[in-house]
């Protein structure tokens, strides 16, 4: 049995909130470079260069990459051999978020759905806790902006539509989203499970490094095909026209009910933020 104090969790969550919002991942920066090399539109190339410059300023001058520093989505993989000390784990995560958003000069974007009154400290965090074997604890903080989340959907398809129906739905979702989610985007796709599980595995699919190959060869081919079709839409960076509408499509799949074909499309803007630590 290994012991971890939840106050350490709070500290780490705080640091991850700040790092995620200031330091864009190397995988996304490399994807920008690949896009610049392939892009036909001069306006699109100019925008992609600006996104690189923006990331540099954010990292060096400690200004958030984007003013929408997101709701704090926190994935916890908790080893079942770990014993937590020092209080309530959920409360510790909220505390880490509260402190991170305050000390990091990050925007507080959480509000009541009716009154729209800001909660003032960006809590509650959105916490996904999963028990795993072992005696380690992994924390992933993935701040999620509103603009791209608003373009995301869950659809309960009829099984008869098959793979082609799934692909058509994903491409149509990206087309209809147009310039709204800040393209170039990363498209997370969750296929199967239940209504809520499809959404969760779509979000988790986003966490895979951009440019990595899906370990399932059938899904890898499907991702390539979807990315081709999406980048033929012409929407381009910021929707102003171009070849780079999305940087990647990431698919997660699991079995579903014999009556169902759940499909979730979670759209992620180019400010693709996630930082993790293992305790």
């Amino acid at each position: 049995m290994r012991e971890i104090n939840v106050q350490e969790v709070a500290e780490r969550v705080k640091d991850l909130c700040i790092a995620a919002n200031l330091e864009l991942g190397a995988d996304v920066l490399k994807a920008f470079d690949r896009a610049i090399a392939q892009e036909e539109s001069p306006v699109a190339r100019d925008i992609l260069e600006q996104l690189k410059e923006n990331a540099r300023i954010a990292r060096e001058e400690r200004i958030p990459i984007c003013q929408d520093t997101g709701l704090a989505v926190v994935f916890v993989e908790l080893g079942q051999e770990v014993r937590l000390l020092g209080g309530d784990l959920n409360e510790a995560i909220h505390k880490g978020v509260r402190q991170g958003y305050q000390e990091g000069y990050l925007r507080k974007s959480a509000c009541h759905p009716f009154s729209r009154m800001n909660t003032g400290d960006n809590t509650p965090a959105i916490i996904h806790l999963e028990m795993v074997p072992g005696e380690q604890m992994k924390l992933i903080v993935a701040p999620k902006g509103g603009g791209s989340e608003n373009m995301s959907r869950v659809e309960m398809l009829t099984p008869s539509v098959g793979i082609e129906g799934i692909k058509d739905y994903v491409v149509e979702r990206v087309r209809a989203s147009g310039s709204n989610p800040c393209p170039p985007t990363i498209v997370g796709v969750g296929i199967g499970g239940t209504f809520e599980q499809a959404a969760l595995i779509a979000k988790k699919a986003l966490l895979r490094p951009v440019g990595s190959r899906n370990p399932d060869s059938e899904l890898a081919v499907m991702e390539d095909d979807l990315l081709d079709r999406i980048n033929q839409l012409g929407i381009g960076p910021q929707g102003l026209g171009g070849r780079t509408t999305s940087l990647a499509v990431h698919i997660n799949l699991m079995p579903c009910h014999i009556a169902s074909l759940p499909l979730a499309v979670n759209i992620q803007c180019h400010v693709h933020r996630h930082k993790e630590v293992t305790l």
Binding site: I57, R62, I63, R107, N150, N180, I235
Partner: protein
């Protein structure tokens, strides 16, 4: 790409006549900020016969909810938010004399028609480039609705703030034209 045009609000109908979709603009001078909650409050106020918190005639509203400034800086990250959420309110503000809007993303048919009717343009700034755009903002002052936090109405002083014309006063739409050009 051609050289950008320079604009300083307040804008008049002549300024707007010359603008067409795809024009790159550098704005210097004053921009007012407002997004979801501030728009709702302003339009509720007009509905009750009240006056807006600033003289909107000829002005440009920038849809932004900035992050808090670090000590010594005027503002934090300050890129555009998605504009369609303001569609329900924008025609009402154009009636009052609003001449420009800066955001990102598509506007509704009704808003594009209102832009033709009342003479107003919609411009896009680069979404997700909040750190870069903050460099063009020299001063920021909350002038109304402080309780809304990031959504408060601010008066910004900007220098060479870059934007691109998406909808002009003739009902054209750069998002449609741009995508059409590169669609396969």
């Amino acid at each position: 790409m051609t050289e950008p045009m320079r604009l300083t609000p307040p804008l008049n109908d002549n300024d707007l006549e010359n603008l067409k979709i795809g024009d790159r603009i550098l704005i210097s001078g004053i921009l007012y900020t407002g997004r979801d909650a501030a728009h709702k409050r302003m339009v509720d106020l007009l509905d009750r016969g009240g006056e807006l918190p600033f003289d909107i005639r000829g002005q440009v509203i920038y849809y932004v909810g900035p992050s808090p400034p670090r000590p010594g800086l005027p503002i934090g990250a300050a890129g555009p938010t998605t504009s369609y959420r303001m569609d329900a309110y924008s025609p009402r503000l154009m009636q009052q004399g609003l001449k420009g809007m800066i955001g990102k993303g598509m506007r509704s048919r009704e808003v594009i028609e209102a832009m033709e009717q009342y003479h107003c343009v919609y411009m896009a700034a680069v979404g997700g480039a909040g750190a870069l755009l903050s460099k063009c903002i020299k001063k920021a002052e909350v002038i109304a609705y402080e309780d809304l936090g990031p959504e408060a109405v601010r008066r910004l002083e900007v220098e060479n703030f870059p934007a691109i014309v998406v909808n002009d006063v003739r009902g054209n739409d750069l998002y449609e034209e741009g995508a059409k050009r590169y669609r396969r």
